[in-house]
């Protein structure tokens, strides 16, 4: 019997719950560390980014209005789906030169991280909300709620784990996001889109783009309908560019470039709070 020829996957993007190619039809070569071709990935443009922001903004109302319980279940469902497909992700990481054992740890950690943040959705406002004992005859309470549309700039390192570590705290509170994936290995992020598609995540809540960061960071961080940027790129020029662009519309920025994405410190509620606004409501007390 002749050896069966494997069917290769065309890697596309994930925007608004669909899998479009870049509107530009451009692709770029993704290779393993030895330089061997693995796949062609979409080389997204400013236009793709703007489309993704529209999708994220459209999805924001529904997602942020879901009950915290429901969002927790959806996050948990993502973890379930990822668990079922973990072999695919292990192989995809191996393709890019990661040792099988390391790839397996990365996938496992990513799944567990999703579970961690799934559990925060209905606790964050209990732990960080307050009833404020004002001196006047008013009932007054403060509760955190989602900031809006968050642009995520993912690192190259540990492309699956880092992407999930950045996405999970952002969407847990009701934000929607656009993620600019790892440039050197965007494949796990794109495949993660397939997991999302099968996980009850409404289209547009997570939008995954691939391509050259240098072609997207500027547009993403200057887009006025993006409320916050979660950036993992340490380069001072990139940080400065993001911060400067953010000032156009008083965008929140959070720079986060850990050396070790496996560390348990990345599991904390302060990452969720980073992309939340505190709303304080007053009402008179009286007959």
């Amino acid at each position: 019997m002749a050896e069966r020829l494997e069917v290769l996957k065309t890697y596309k993007t994930y925007v608004g719950g669909k899998f479009p190619r870049s509107e530009s039809d451009r692709t770029y070569r993704v290779t393993n560390p030895k330089g061997t071709h693995i796949a062609n990935a979409c080389r997204c443009t400013r236009k793709d980014l703007r489309d993704a922001v529209v999708a994220a903004r459209t999805a924001f109302g529904d997602w942020s209005n879901r009950s915290a319980y429901n969002r927790g279940q959806v996050l948990y469902r993502i973890a379930e789906m990822l668990e079922g497909r973990k072999e695919q992700f292990v192989k995809e990481l191996e393709l890019a030169g990661v040792k099988e054992k390391d790839a397996r740890v990365e996938v496992h950690t990513a799944i567990d991280r999703l579970i961690y943040f799934a559990g925060w959705t209905d606790k964050i406002s209990q732990v960080f909300g307050t009833v404020n004992p004002v001196a006047s005859a008013h009932f007054n309470f403060s509760s955190p709620e989602a900031t809006g549309v968050v642009g995520i700039i993912a690192p190259d390192k540990n492309p699956l784990l880092s992407a999930i570590s950045m996405i999970a705290p952002v969407i847990a509170s009701g934000n929607t996001c656009i993620i600019v994936s790892s440039e050197t290995n965007p494949l796990p992020a794109v495949s993660f889109g397939e997991v999302l598609h099968a996980s009850d995540v409404p289209g547009g809540v997570i939008n995954i783009l691939t391509g050259y960061r240098s072609e997207m960071v500027d547009s993403l961080s200057s887009h006025k309908d993006v409320n916050a940027i979660f950036n993992s790129i340490e380069e001072p020029e990139t940080r400065k560019l993001i911060d400067e662009n953010a000032s156009i519309s008083v965008k929140r920025t959070s720079h986060y470039s850990p050396d070790d994405w496996f560390a348990v410190e990345h599991e904390n509620p302060y990452l969720v709070l980073e992309f939340m606004e505190t709303k304080t409501t007053w009402h008179p007390v009286g007959f």
């Binding site: 209005n65 732990v127 307050t130 404020n132 004992p133 004002v134 001196a135 006047s136 008013h138 007054n140 403060s142 709620e145 900031t147 809006g148 409320n227 001072p236 940080r239 400065k240 560019l241 993001i242 911060d243 400067e244 953010a246 000032s247 156009i248 519309s249 008083v250 929140r252 904390n268 509620p269 302060y270 606004e277 505190t278 709303k279 304080t280 409501t281 007053w282 009402h283 008179p284």
Partner: protein, 510 residues
């Protein structure tokens, strides 16, 4: 009270053509203005000493500016000069930052939380002791009615210090799972609308968390900050913990740009806030911004209208409308629009505009000539945009900067007077049919600081409140502040919260 009510409208129809109201008293009109002549009731200011010349407060001493330049602070109600104050240059800012750094390295964060708290308690008490002096000074320097500075600004300023004093030795309870550390030297730049209160919002949480401070008050209202410096001295606060440098925008810019400042806290316009954010790009300085607003004040047709009218008046005319969270856009449901607007006009007639030091005054002086001219420009813009302007028929003093309470009807969402912050006693009025339309209009500006909802239906309050993107949601009330209550904006109204437990976050790291 009965003789203050006149039945000057025919019972069977209303003047504005709306359907006959069902409430037995709704055809009665309060007409204080023609019944009562108010005698002047000025607050005596003879015991208040304002020095002819103020210097910076650096390292526990009042020191003359290096370049020897001074600016003038003007009473906006009389246009007379109250005093001169130092214009801070980079040299002054640098010595203030050095003093703050020294205090940070040597003394302040090394004290126990309990001892820090006791200093802050002392400060709170000393503000209370000198409350009347501060209130009068605030009204003279900034033009706000004495009733407000006496009953709101100064007591609240003391309350903020009192509240944060108590946090100083309890910080480990504020951040679950984290040990907070102070940041270092905080550069703080505050506006002219609530000079002493904004100082309290900035300095109290900074000191409680172990930081030291370089604060710049606004150039039109520096006096209470300099009197506060006297309190720092009198309270025995270690030298350099609080430094006050006066000056205008350039002085503020020197603080923002100073390399040894760890954090910037700014309250002011969105325009300047954006410049500060851009300036800080790529640095490790933390910052919080409390910026402009264009607060929607939504009145549903089931709202208690008379209460709502009081709320609307308070929302837009409190402090001459110089309030970043002012309810400057009234959104009223169509069915009650005519009635409400008539009631609002009637109520506006009773507002007394004039001498800030008069205890009867409702609306004092516009803070500065520049702001007065800016408001006048917006009135012209509104008229040019086709809006209908209504002003109360009150008299305003000949000298000083005064603006009659003003409302604009027949405006649309895209009008500049609807989109842009005027920062004066100017209200725009739009109508809506459905809650969805109200929410859409409410959210349709770049801002998101505060909003108001008026309805008798609780579920409507929560649903509307959830959907409106603003940091403060006043339901069936407006313009209420409290040290325990976090305040701050969404979107272009800024980032970070001041007040309450949440107000500690911007001053710590983990």
């Amino acid at each position: 009270m009965s003789d203050t009510i006149s039945t000057n409208q025919p019972v069977d129809k209303t003047t504005n053509g709306s359907p006959k109201p069902t409430s037995p008293n709704s055809d009665l009109k309060f007409d204080f203005a023609s019944f009562w002549e108010y005698s002047a009731a000025p607050e005596s200011s003879d015991f208040v000493e304002i020095d002819p010349k103020y210097n910076h407060f650096i390292n526990g001493e009042f020191v003359a500016p290096v370049k020897g330049r001074y600016m003038k602070s003007i009473n906006p109600a009389t246009e007379k000069v109250l005093c001169e104050f130092a214009e801070g240059t980079s040299e002054d800012v640098d010595s203030a930052v050095k003093a703050a750094r020294k205090a940070y390295d040597k003394t302040w964060p090394k004290l126990s939380g309990k001892e820090r708290g006791k200093y802050i308690f002392r400060i709170a008490r000393m503000i209370q002791e000198r409350a009347r002096e501060f209130a009068i000074t605030e009204s003279m320097d900034g033009g706000k009615p004495i009733r407000e500075s006496r009953d709101v600004d100064v007591p609240l300023a003391a309350a903020y210090f009192f509240y944060y004093a108590g946090w100083a030795d309890k910080l480990e309870y504020a951040f679950p799972g984290r040990k907070p550390k102070s940041l270092g030297v905080c550069g703080q730049i505050i506006p002219w609308n609530f000079p002493l209160l904004m100082l309290a919002w900035k300095i109290a949480p900074a000191l409680a968390t172990g930081n030291t401070v370089v604060l710049k008050p606004a150039e039109s209202t520096p006096i209470t900050a300099l009197k506060f410096a006297e309190i720092c001295k009198d309270s025995g606060l270690p030298e350099g913990v609080v430094n006050i440098v006066t000056g205008a925008g350039q002085t503020g810019s020197e603080i923002v740009n100073h390399p040894d400042v760890n954090k910037i806290a700014f309250t002011g316009s969105t325009k300047v806030g954006k410049i500060i954010q851009k300036t800080l790009a790529g640095t490790d300085k933390k910052f919080t911004l409390e910026l402009g607003g264009k607060g929607p004040n939504i009145v549903f047709e089931d709202a208690p209208l008379d209460q709502a009218v009081e709320g609307i008046i308070n929302a837009i005319f409190f402090n001459q409308g110089h309030v970043c969270c002012a309810g400057s856009r009234l959104l009223v449901q169509e069915g009650v629009a005519d009635t409400l607007i008539q009631k609002l006009k009637d109520r506006m007639e009773t507002l007394i505009v004039g001498d800030p030091l008069d205890k009867n005054t409702d609306i004092g002086a516009i803070n500065s000539k520049a702001q007065f001219e800016r408001i006048q420009q917006y009135l012209e813009i509104g008229l040019n945009e086709g809006a209908e302007m209504y002003q109360s028929s009150c008299n305003v003093p000949e000298n000083g900067y005064f603006c009659k309470p003003t409302i604009f009807t027949n405006v649309s969402q895209s009008n500049r007077i609807v989109q842009e912050e005027i920062f004066g006693p100017v209200l725009t009025i739009q109508t809506f049919r459905t809650p969805a339309e109200a929410i859409e209009k409410a959210n349709n500006t770049p801002y998101g600081l505060a909003s108001g909802i008026w309805t008798d239906k609780g579920s409507k309050i929560f649903k509307t409140g959830q959907s409106i993107r603003s940091g403060v949601m006043w339901s069936n009330t407006y313009n209420k502040f409290d040290p325990t209550s976090p305040f701050g904006g969404y979107n272009e109204s800024g980032m970070g919260r001041e007040g309450g437990l949440h107000g500690l976050y911007p001053y710590v790291k983990f």
